[in-house]
């Protein structure tokens, strides 16, 4: 394929960079500049920022993130399974039921043990 195959992408990158640059430059040249406290505040989804960003987070974020990774990565097996589903027939279906069933028990366990409770102090 060589470099020739990427020409389209290169053009795209150049156009995107130029467009962004031109727009920023134009608004700078044409627009009026009014600085206010609200405008200079860091943007946090429209909510007033509270405190420094470098403070310590609750451990609960970590536990939730960890559980998310574990359950999320299992989805990786669903894709190849879906691709060959037809040729596997009913055997493939049962296999996946078992797989998801085991995951479900794991999820149930996490849930009932209270790892998903935000308010509890048990962890």
């Amino acid at each position: 394929m060589g470099i020739a195959g990427y020409t389209g992408i290169l053009i795209m990158v150049a156009v995107a960079a130029a467009f962004g640059g031109v727009v920023v430059l134009l608004s700078r040249l044409i627009g009026k500049r009014q600085e206010s406290r609200e405008k200079l505040m860091p943007y946090e989804c429209g909510i007033d920022p509270t405190g420094n960003a470098r403070r310590r987070f609750s451990i609960k974020f970590y536990i939730t993130a960890m559980l998310f990774i574990i359950f999320d990565i299992e989805a990786v097996f669903l894709y190849p399974w879906a691709v060959v589903y037809r040729s596997l027939k009913i055997f493939g279906f049962i296999e996946m039921v078992v797989f998801v069933g085991i995951l479900l028990i794991g999820f149930l366990y996490v849930w009932k043990k209270g790892a998903l409770e935000w308010g509890s102090k048990s962890i």
């Binding site: 990774i69 574990i70 990565i73 299992e74 990786v76 097996f77």
Partner: protein, 100 residues
């Protein structure tokens, strides 16, 4: 066109970087990141070989490595966390109640 050898060499370099990092760095989390680098070097090698051989086995292997790495990460970070809670440090040189 990048040929397979170059991918393999890149994989080997990344793997060696990971190994070197494990020996040099003293922060448990950084050591763990170096181990992850080793695993990803292996993934790259698998994909490159799989592509050049036209066999799908290597890609399947990568799926499993990724899953296992996620499980290991969850367990490993939890261990590092519980260590920090007890000792207030994750520097492996300070973790020496047992002789290394």
């Amino acid at each position: 066109m990048v040929d397979t050898t170059q991918y393999l060499v890149l994989g080997a370099i990344l793997f060696c970087l990971g190994v070197a990092g494990v020996f040099i760095r003293r922060n448990a989390i950084v050591i763990f990141m170096c181990i992850e680098l080793m695993l990803n070097a292996v993934n790259l090698t698998f994909i490159a070989i799989s592509r050049s051989l036209g066999s799908i086995d290597g890609q399947v292997f990568v799926f499993f490595i990724m899953t296992v790495a996620a499980a290991e990460a969850a367990v490993g970070l939890a261990i590092i966390l519980s260590l920090y809670r007890r000792r207030q440090t994750i520097n492996v040189d300070e973790v020496n109640l047992l002789k290394w």
